[in-house]
Each structure stands twice: as structure tokens, then as C-alpha cells.
Amino acid sequence: MKIKKLLTSAALVCFAAQLSAGTGKLAVDEVVRKANNAAYYGGDDGRSAVRMTIKDKLGRVREREFTILRKDESDGGKQYFYVYFRKPSDVRKMVFIVWKNIDKGDDRWLYLPALDLVKRIAASDKRTSFAGSDYMYEDVSGRGLGEDSHELLEGTDTRYIINNRPKDADAVEFSSYKVWIDKQNFVPMKTEYLDKSGELYRTVEALSVENIDDIPTVVKARVTNHISGSVTSLEFKNIKYNIGLKKSVFTERYLRRPPREARK
């Protein structure tokens, strides 16, 4: 028995050594994966009321209010999003559903209540403005990890820093982006996007993080567009996790007839 145990622990040591030899590559993927889970996969499902304030460089303000419902098939896997708009009046009662797929383009639908019209939206315009804000559709549902190559840069005491380059440079408007990730809870705290000429043009920041149901959650965030001078602030309220959302909520049935979870 003893010999067996010894052998086992020797094997374990060898395995550990192999692991640390490959640390560079493993570590960056691990950090990116954990950060992605922390940012987009809290709990098995969740709900939040969002207030979005868009301020242009002349100080003109626009406001958006909506509810987001989310359900995950698995951490890092397929996800469903449901967005129910409340404000302003021209988008009120509109519903937007995304099926975020890992191995192919997302499926997306928009419901226009005045026409009772279920409109399907092409997946290609993910990097366009979400509801006229500085947020993009892709910021709402997350960017596929396989779409960029990731490099772990020298971090700080509290932050990992990852540099990301798009594998298909023509598909996006940035040349690269850098993410600062909290070493404690893996929440991405800041992202800086460089444009094609290498200039900083867009910053996304988490301004306040709270533990909700023991899940570190961004409750205030801000996006700054350094070229247009426009700033979008987000506040997340009434956040709840693991509320037992059914998968059917993310289908045409509830696209046409928003559930109370979304309207309340």
C-alpha cells in the first residue's frame, strides 16, 4: 500500500512540474475564462433593472431603462438574454432576445409591439451601438473567447492585465484591447480599446462592485468614447441570481408576451 501511495505522489509531483512548465499559456486562458465567467455567468440565471444615461459632449442627456433576464446552459457555454425596454417612450415595450451560441453566430430577435412584429436581426452588427448608447450589443452579451488571441501582460498587485487581439481584424473596429482583471474575484474592472491606428478611443470601467448573493457583481459602470466625447453610465438595480427562469422565457412565446419577471 505504502509503495502504491508513494508512486502516486511521485506521479502527482511530475504532473505538477509539467503543469508549471506550461504555466504561461495555461494561466492566460484560465484568467480569461474566469473573467468571462465573472462578467457574464454569475449564478445559473439572473435578473437586473438597468438605467442607462447617455451624455454627449455638449451635455445633452438621453436615458434608457430596461430589464435584463439571463439564463446559462453552463458556465462559459450557451446563454440566453432577454431585454425588455421601459424608457424612452419610443422603445417602450420592445423586447430583444439573444441566444448566445459558442460555436456559431448568435441568434437574435427584436419584437416591435405596435406591429406585433418579430424581427430577426443579423448577427453581424454585434459591434454597433446598443439602444443608441456607447455600449455595443456585444458588451451586453459578451464577446466569444475564441474570437481573440490573449496575452498575459505584467500585472499589478491587484490586477491581471490581458492584451487581446482579434483573430479577424476586419470584423471589428478596434486593433486590440487591454483588460484589467481583479485578482481576487476575476471581475474585469477596466477595458481599453485601441483603434486601427493604435490610439485609445474607448474605455469601459466598472465603478462599483458589490457582493450580491455572494456573487461579485458590477452595479455601476461607465463607457467613454474618447473620440466623440460621449459617456454612457449604467446603474444596475434589483439584481437577483438563481431565480429559476425557465428556458421557455427566451422563446417567441414570451417575446410576444413579456413575462411579469421582465415587466415588474
Partner: protein, 425 residues
């Protein structure tokens, strides 16, 4: 006015059933808009007024939960300067009140939804082209420059929906036929086959509409399922042609019986959205196609593709065809002197939408072109969302054609430009 009474009674009983407190509390959520619209004809039509649009409307949208279900009331209060008579006709959408929605919906069973009352209904995959969507359209609003939401006219119907992992089903029962709000000549001049000329207010179409409650009903069915992102559907409809499609012995335009069977699919394709839809129109009162007074059956087909050409610029294209069945019988039965329609009418559409200034400025152009009818219809539009509540829009409806009897060619005297300002609350 009868229908208003019907709704009042319906609401009263709902209130009784669910408790008055709930009713009172339910309607805290009121939204809507006020809007003023003006439109002018750019060509001089001897049969029509110089203006094409002149109205102010207030839309009030009330939503509330009542017991296990929810109630929506959406009403447009309208001052239409084009009309002399402001008395209310709820079915035709005429007068000072256009009741857009007044319905109660709830889920009696886990796998079932019911929506009863006045509602807007839409299904199918076309963009401004409808094959299996047999719910009423408002062509007068569409061609005279009202907001695009007014293309759909309300139905007074019961919608039952059933859901299962295998298949979903919608059944819509309309106890009294709801026709389109069709072109009569009052606002838009049209080809009048009897006169053999373009007619307007001089020859407003007189119609005989099926209007028996329960006798002249409509039933529409849809079975649908999403196969990993590919949306597929089967459709059935039993009712009437939605716009006039024949002539009675007394010379009135009629809405003959119609049965439609169809299919559709929509899916992600090469970074865009592809769709295809087909329908077989069975004209039940003229199944051999040899009655010149009633429109023949047709087979309709549509294929479309939409994708982002470049950032903030969407392009969508559609190919559509209408094939007249029993064409030989149709041609040989025509009265002498009447121009025969082509056996196949083909239509191409293209829509370009450019958004700028954070989607606050949207410019779009929608063009319909028929190589067989040799006619076209262009809808350019510019919208500007000046603030969260203030909205401006201007656009035009432009028709062209070699002949005056084709679908768009008949409207060539109706070119118009319009302008509107809207404030939401």
C-alpha cells in the same frame, strides 16, 4: 358604435371577476404620444384633394395586470382634417377614435396563452410583403405617409396559443370578417376596371362586405417550430380576400371566399438573415378560374435576404412572385376590352437603411420594382430623434409605371411628401 359597448361590457365583467381594486390600480401605467402630420400631393390629381395628410392624433396606451392576466388598451384620438365626417367607425378605423388595441390576455394552462379582444396580429417572414399573414392591413395609411405601425389594422379576435417542445400552435378566430382598410378612391385614386379609367372621389368604390357575426368569420392557423435557430412554420387560413377581389352582379366590389395554405422558413445565413415563404391561394368561389367577376387562385412565393453592408448600413432584398392559376380560363373568360393581367407578376424589393448620430438619425429607402408590370414604388424616409421625447420624420411615396392598370401604376397620380412631429410621454 356598437363595438364600444361590447368592449365596455367586456371590461366591466373582467373588473367584476378580478376585483375593482385591481382594476383601479391597474392603469397607473399610461404612456403614448401626440403627433401632428401634414402631407401634400406633388402631382395634380383632378379626383383628389391637394393635401394627402392633415391630422393630429393623441395615442394613449394603458397597460395593467388584472388578476391572472393583463389588459392593454391603446386608443388613438384623432382630428383628421381630410374628413368631413368625424363619427366613429371602429372596424374601418374612421372618425375621431381609432381603437388600436383593447384586449385581455392570460395563461389558463402552463402550455397555453389566450388573448381576447382587439389586437394587432402579425406573422410571416416578408418585409412589407405578406403571403400568410392574413390579418388586416391599412393600405390607405401606408400609401399616404402615416407611421409604419399603421400599416397593420387591428383585428377583433380570439388568439389561442399552445406551446410544446415538439411544436407550437397559434389559432386565431375572428368572429366577424375584418377586411383590410383598402383603397376606395376617397384619399387615393385607383384603377377602376368598370370605368376603364383612374378614379378617385368621383367614383368611390362601393363594397359589399361579409359582415355576419359567426357566419362570416375567419380562422387563421400557424404551426411553428425553431430548429436550432431555423424558424419554420406552416400556415392555414379560411376566410375571405382581405381587399376587394371581385364584382357582384350589382356592380359592387366584393370579398370572395378564400383559403390559404402556406409555409415559411427564416434562418441565419452568411452573417445575414435569409427567409423564404410560399402560399397557395384558393379562391373558393372561382375554383376553376373561369368566373371573370372573381379573382382567380394564386400561388405566391417570396425569398429574401438581409445583411449589414457596412457598419450602420443595412441592405435587404426580396424577390416575390404571384402566379395566377388556371390562367387560360381567366384569359378566355375576360370581358372584351379588359386588359388581362400577366400570368406571373414578379416583384423585386430593396431596402437600404443608414443610421447615424447614435441611431438618432435614420435614413431609409424602400423600393418596389416589378419587371413584369413595369411599375415601381419608392418610399424614402428620414427620421430624427431630437430628444428622448421629440421626434421628426419626413418622407415621400412615389409611384411610377408604364400602364395605369398595374398594381403600382394605378397610383401614379398619388405621389406625396409628408412631414410629422411627435412627442412621446
Amino acid at each position: 358604435m356598437k363595438k364600444i359597448g361590447f368592449y365596455a361590457v367586456a371590461l366591466f365583467f373582467t373588473a367584476l371577476l378580478t376585483g375593482f381594486n385591481a382594476t383601479a390600480a391597474a392603469f397607473a401605467d399610461i404612456h403614448g404620444f401626440v403627433e401632428a402630420g401634414a402631407g401634400y400631393r406633388t402631382s395634380d390629381d383632378p379626383h383628389e384633394a391637394g393635401r394627402s395628410l392633415s391630422e393630429t392624433r393623441l395615442q394613449a396606451d394603458l397597460n395593467g395586470d388584472m388578476g391572472p392576466g393583463s389588459v392593454i388598451i391603446k386608443a388613438d384620438f384623432l382630428y383628421d382634417d381630410m374628413e368631413d365626417d368625424h363619427s366613429v367607425d371602429l372596424s374601418g378605423g374612421e372618425g375621431w377614435l381609432d381603437l388600436r388595441e383593447f384586449n385581455f390576455s392570460f395563461s389558463p394552462l402552463d402550455f397555453m396563452d389566450l388573448k381576447s379582444g382587439r389586437q394587432i396580429l402579425t406573422w410571416g417572414t416578408g418585409d412589407m410583403i405578406f403571403i400568410n399573414d392574413m390579418f388586416p392591413k391599412d393600405w390607405v395609411s401606408f400609401f399616404s405617409g402615416r407611421q409604419s405601425e399603421y400599416l397593420k389594422a387591428p383585428s377583433d379576435a380570439l388568439k389561442m396559443s399552445f406551446f410544446s417542445p415538439l411544436i407550437n400552435a397559434d389559432a386565431v378566430y375572428t368572429p366577424q370578417f375584418d377586411s383590410d382598410r383598402y383603397i376606395t378612391g376617397e384619399r387615393i385614386s385607383y384603377w377602376n376596371g368598370t370605368l376603364g379609367a383612374i378614379a378617385g372621389r368621383n367614383a368611390v368604390a362601393l363594397t359589399e362586405k361579409p359582415d355576419d357575426w359567426f357566419g362570416d368569420s375567419e380562422t387563421a392557423l400557424r404551426l411553428y417550430r425553431n430548429f436550432h435557430g431555423v424558424e419554420t412554420a406552416l400556415y392555414g387560413y379560411e376566410g375571405f380576400w382581405k381587399s376587394p377581389a371581385g364584382m357582384s352582379a350589382g356592380g359592387k366590389a366584393v370579398f370572395p371566399s378564400l383559403r390559404v395554405l402556406g409555409v415559411s422558413a427564416r434562418w441565419n445565413f452568411l452573417n445575414g438573415i435569409a427567409n423564404a415563404e410560399a402560399g397557395k391561394y384558393d379562391s373558393m368561389d372561382d375554383r376553376d378560374g373561369d368566373n371573370p367577376m372573381i379573382r382567380n387562385g394564386e400561388v405566391r412565393f417570396l425569398a429574401g435576404y438581409e445583411h449589414e453592408l457596412m457598419k450602420n448600413l443595412m441592405l435587404s432584398m426580396q424577390f416575390y412572385t404571384e402566379h395566377i392559376e388556371d390562367y387560360g380560363n381567366y384569359v378566355s373568360s375576360l370581358f372584351p376590352g379588359v386588359t388581362a393581367k400577366d400570368e406571373n407578376r414578379r416583384l423585386l424589393t430593396m431596402r437600404l437603411t443608414k443610421s447615424a448620430m447614435k441611431q438618432n438619425l435614420v435614413m431609409s429607402a424602400f423600393v418596389f420594382y416589378s419587371p413584369t408590370d413595369k411599375d415601381m414604388y419608392l418610399r424614402p424616409k428620414v427620421s430624427y430623434q431630437a430628444s428622448d421625447s421629440l421626434f421628426f420624420e419626413t418622407g415621400a411615396n412615389i409611384f411610377g409605371g408604364e400602364n395605369v392598370h398595374t398594381f403600382f401604376g394605378q397610383f401614379t397620380e398619388n405621389d406625396n411628401i409628408y412631414f410629422r412631429v411627435k412627442r412621446g410621454f
